[in-house]
Amino acid sequence: MTAPILEMTDVSKRFRTPGGFGRRRHGLLAVDGVSLRVERGEALGLVGESGSGKSTLARMANGLVTPTAGIVRTDGQDVAALGRRGLRRLRRNVAMVFQDPLASLNPRQTVRQTLENVYRAHGETTSTAELVALLESVGLGPDYLGRYPHQASGGQLQRVAVARALALKPDLIIADEPTSALDVSVRAQILNLLADLQRDQGISFLHVSHDLAVIRLYSDRVAVMQRGRIVETGPSEEIFRAPQHPCTQALVEATPEAELPT
């Protein structure tokens, strides 16, 4: 059996808070001894209230955040042991989609430039035909290539961000609240797009969200985080039907049935 695409063992992250003369540095323990794994082809949902450390945890998978303790193995490699080059190779395999596409896309770059820069980062070039095919795979027409971010809507931009993540054919995509900055009407479209990618291309997902309703429909398993710790894990339906931990119960209760995307 192959190694899981992502395996975290007992990882912690303490952020240093600005100290000063005579003041003690306390630090903020954002992630506190967390272990989790994402199997190949699986979508793991990471839910928790804001400030629970889920985004920090997700960013350890591709080395954007270095853990203070514990081991992160992505694609079988110890992320902490990778050099600069190794880290770049890893990021080829592990792509990321961010919360607000208007912020995560450079306002001075056209869609073409944004996508070309992904290939350039790994010393590759690409053709217009390839870029058109890439946009098509996220449901956008070729006319988007020449557009700047301010010339497209939030939903369209998030599709561009997904295209950027797909450009190098990754094995794992970290989606950090990919729909929370979008209109309710386009959320389901983006989530369906991600679900299709998982099903059709076998891409694994680490899907971070504070919305359990989203996670329930689009993840195979769920991990619930509270104050830097994982308090409950299990298959999505089970967690939703019979939540064990009070935090999970609160999240389930806070999910309005009427707003469930279908």
Binding site: R84, P107, Q109, A121
Partner: protein, 309 residues
């Protein structure tokens, strides 16, 4: 849509130059800056055309009582296009075009050099943060605490005569000129470094060089242009001030600042109000033109205002 059509549609974006030329204030500013510069560059040619040189005394054109130039507008005539200076009667047009040469090119050199240093250091401070930012920040603090002008005066006073004074001026002014722009660029760069699209680029595996060049520098370019435009008139006046103190350009090298400070007593006493007019107008043109052109260029480079304009 065929691939050719797609590429054609993208090419419709108007070039920076064309958009700049559409801005009237920018073009006016550029003209105001370029005309004196060209005049300075072609100084020997222009002066030969006028049939004068910057150093010959024309005492016959002066009022023997008080040394004022005879005639209207400070002695403007077909021979002396901008009149002559009081006391010596040297040709003002020749003095001014040669003066532009020395003043403007020293100011330009110092501004370019200091802004380049500031841009490189500021970007590094913003991108790397941490100890790079701390060390460079303390160095800037140290430079702030330094009495820069005193130091410049001291250095210029002891420069060995065999060194080219103009070049030394450029280096000394640049040495004290990079700190403020570096701090401003550094603050802006670290703000950009914290934005999500830089993190997104990092997440794609982009190397530092690519992130700095493709993601950060386009956002800093406008600021660098504006800082350059602000530094240019400052350096023009500092060069003038050093000449006034006698530690700038030496001897009989014409210089706009020297002309301005020479003309001051004549303005105060009202004896020859025309002496300052033409050198003053040239300095005004350069400073105002640099500001207008800098503003227009910043507007043009800001892609997001493209639709609103």
């Amino acid at each position: 849509m065929s691939i050719a059509e797609i590429q054609q549609a993208e090419g419709r974006r108007t070039s920076v130059l064309r958009r700049f030329l559409r801005k009237r204030s920018g073009v006016a500013g550029l003209v105001m800056l370029v005309v004196p510069m060209v005049a300075g560059l072609c100084a020997p040619l222009l002066v030969r055309l006028e049939g004068q040189d910057p150093h010959t005394f024309h005492t016959d054109l002066l009022d023997p009582d008080g040394g004022r130039p005879l005639g209207a507008l400070g002695g403007v005539s077909a021979e002396h296009w901008l009149g002559v200076a009081p006391v010596t009667g040297v040709d003002l047009f020749a003095q001014i075009v040669y003066g532009i040469r020395s003043s403007l090119f020293i100011a330009f050199g110092a501004s370019i050099l200091s802004i380049i240093v500031a841009a490189i250091l500021g970007t590094a401070m913003g991108y790397f943060g941490g100890w790079v930012n701390a060390v460079a920040g303390r160095l800037i603090d140290f430079m702030f605490g330094f009495p820069g002008l005193m130091f410049v005066i001291a250095i210029m006073a002891i420069v060995p005569p065999e060194l080219p004074r103009g070049l030394v001026l450029v280096l000394v002014l640049a040495f004290f000129g990079w700190t403020v722009p570096a701090r401003i660029i550094g603050a802006q760069a670290s703000a950009i470094n914290a934005r999500a699209f830089v993190e997104a680029a990092r997440a794609t595996g982009a190397p530092p060089g690519q992130i700095i060049r493709r993601e950060m520098m386009p956002h800093l370019f406008g600021l660098v242009v504006v800082l350059f435009a602000m530094s240019l008139p400052t350096n023009v006046s500092v060069v003038a001030g050093l000449s006034f103190l006698g530690v700038g350009l030496r001897g009989d090298v014409p210089d706009l600042g020297k002309l301005l400070s020479d003309s001051l007593p004549w303005i105060y006493s009202g004896a020859d109000v025309w002496y300052m007019l033409f050198p003053g107008a040239v300095v005004f043109l350069i400073v105002f033109g640099a500001t207008l052109a800098g503003d227009a260029l910043r507007d043009v480079l800001d892609v997001r205002t493209e639709d609103a304009a």
